[in-house]
């Protein structure tokens, strides 16, 4: 060998860092640029040459503009409300069903399960048209309920939790029944505590998905006060008419921040949850 072992390792490591750092820079560039632009005053946004850092800090102006032009905080609040409501409903609906599929015997179980598997394959945009019409006839369009109710059922959640519940020993269920627990109590007192890690991953999956959903709110929401973050971003962009990117970028920073902070805080779990979308498709 021409080089010693440690020399080879050093060279290899340096090359690896070079490639990965270059890639990381490209992938992070939009975020960095977004933050930098949100700090620039209007005259520094449209410049001939490339200027990275602002010479004058316009942080206060841009962020105030963003917060006052449109009800940005309202959008975030709506997002939080809607996602939490969806998650809570999903859990309340899916846990008993997952338990029944995992631990109970009943007539028609195979067919019912096949229905769940079938529902798994349905992309959510496919059901838009009939659901929209149904909500229209119920007078529920342009309400937060329209954003929440159709998603209260998660076939994927049932699938995931059933897989998990199957690994819980049957004896635990038997012991609980002998202790006199009803089936409902069983689900909430016995199965739920064991399922917390899997539920956490599912929770992240659900929250991220619905927080970022644009298609459905676009269809059913028309009033800005009811907008979720993605829809709100669009209202904001249309308001700003794309002339002053400073506040617009400030707005996007505020809108992206919650999810990104959640990501950085709970990286492993976050990746776990989002990777579940891979399993669902």
């Amino acid at each position: 060998m021409m080089l010693t072992f440690s020399a080879r390792t050093f060279l290899f490591r340096a090359l690896r860092h070079l490639l990965l750092m270059a890639g990381a820079l490209v992938f992070l560039a939009p975020f960095i640029w977004m933050v930098l632009t949100s700090l620039k005053p209007v005259d520094e946004v449209f410049t001939r040459e490339l200027t990275l850092l602002p010479t004058r800090l316009a942080l206060v102006e841009n962020y105030t503009e963003a917060l006052t032009r449109v009800p940005l905080l309202r959008y975030l609040w709506n997002g939080l409300l809607v996602c939490t409501a969806i998650l809570v409903l999903q859990i309340v609906v899916l846990l008993p069903a997952a338990y029944a599929f995992a631990k109970l015997q009943f007539r028609g179980k195979t067919w019912a399960w096949r229905l769940v598997l079938l529902a798994l394959m349905i992309p959510h945009q496919a059901t838009a048209i009939p659901t929209y019409v149904m909500l229209h006839h119920l007078g529920m369009l342009n309400t937060l309920s329209a954003l929440i109710v159709p998603f209260s059922i998660s076939a994927f959640g049932i699938f995931l939790m059933r897989q998990f519940f199957r690994t819980v020993p049957d004896d635990l269920v038997h012991a609980a029944r002998l202790d006199g627990m009803s089936e409902f109590e069983l689900v909430w007192r016995v199965m739920l505590p064991t399922a917390v890690p899997a539920l956490f991953a599912f929770a992240i999956f659900s929250v991220v998905w619905h927080w970022n959903d644009y298609f459905w709110p676009l269809l059913v929401i028309s009033s800005p006060e009811l907008a979720t973050p993605p829809l709100g971003t669009m209202f904001f962009r249309n308001e700003e008419a794309g002339i002053n990117y400073g506040p617009l970028m400030a707005g996007t920073v505020l809108i992206t921040a919650p999810l990104l902070l959640l990501f950085i805080a709970a990286q492993k779990r976050f990746i776990e949850g989002v990777t579940l979308t891979g399993v669902k498709g």
């Binding site: 990965l20 992938f27 029944a100 529902a119 394959m121 496919a126 076939a155 269809l219 498709g281």
Partner: protein, 290 residues
């Protein structure tokens, strides 16, 4: 111990009802609607059989949309998988800074696409955008990325790759982890030292099922492209970025021709079903491989 059937029913009924009302029912309705010419708000509808599908077949907008969607799918899947695999291999090959790199490449996946699309709109701005500034800096010609008919779809595909590569990377990292350390050691002892040989003889074959899985995951996601199109190009210029979901949206909620849009939705569902089947068989192979 057999549980009282009433209890079981109560446990299952909320889920079952909601499943039928919001998932399975609507799909059935869509299939039925696709055989009518119903318009939203109309009092009556007529059965037209497969006429909608015939119209789809000859509709130039739909054909363009389908072609664009497929091109987008291929570009984004290939790009995301290639970059995802490359970064996963590089990250996994050493221990330094793994967490940082993983975070950096995954961030686009975690972010709100709509908001980042607006950022990209600025980045791709013909005069003030960072991309054109950088191109000028190295002496290349700046372009109008989103308004040039020939470039727009590729620009969107680039954003799609940016958003998806991190997901592919994370899935590949999991796949690489599942290759037993013993097999790698045995290969090292057998003389498989060169990184290319290691990749070709050990890593790539053993990653086979994972790769198929990642490809289908990316493909399914790519097929569902809508957000960037609606925010950045609205299908233009000249329908060069018109994609399946956007066409469905335009027909169903712009023109309110819901019968016709339902037929398109059926095509969309068929595509997803096909890819999901491929994905299931990939997962089967994964479990049988050991």
């Amino acid at each position: 111990m057999r549980v009282h059937p009433l209890n079981t029913l109560l446990l299952l009924s909320p889920a079952t009802v909601l499943l039928l009302v919001f998932l399975l029912g609507p799909v059935a309705v869509v299939a039925v609607l696709s055989l009518t010419d119903w318009q939203f708000g109309a009092a009556t509808l007529n059965w037209v059989g497969l006429a909608n599908y015939a119209e789809l077949w000859s509709d130039p907008v739909f054909r363009q949309s389908l072609a664009n969607t497929l091109l987008y799918l291929v570009l984004v899947t290939a790009g995301a998988v290639a970059i995802g695999l490359g970064t996963a291999l590089l990250i996994e090959s050493d221990t330094q800074l793994r967490g940082f790199y993983r975070t950096a490449f995954f961030m686009p996946v975690a972010s709100t696409l709509i908001a980042m699309a607006v950022v990209w709109q600025f980045l791709l701005h013909p005069s003030a955008g960072l991309v054109n500034h950088m191109l000028q800096w190295v002496g290349l010609q700046p372009q109008d990325w989103l308004n040039n008919r020939r470039l727009a779809l590729y620009s969107l595909a680039a954003i799609g790759v940016w958003q998806m590569a991190g997901l592919a990377m994370v899935l590949f990292l999991a796949g690489l982890k599942s290759i037993p350390q013993d097999v790698r050691d045995a290969a090292a002892l057998d003389g498989v030292t060169h990184p290319w040989e290691r990749f070709r003889r050990i890593t790539w074959p053993l990653l086979g099922p994972t790769t198929l899985f990642v490809v289908t995951v990316c493909a399914i996601r790519a097929l569902q492209v809508f957000d960037t199109v609606h925010v950045l190009t609205r299908g233009g210029p000249n329908k060069s970025t018109e994609v399946l979901l956007h066409t469905i949206y335009a027909e169903g909620f712009g023109f309110f021709r819901m019968g016709y849009a339902s037929a398109m939705t059926v095509v969309f569902i068929a595509g997803i079903f096909f890819l999901t089947q491929v994905q299931h068989s990939a997962m089967e192979r994964k479990t049988h491989y050991a």
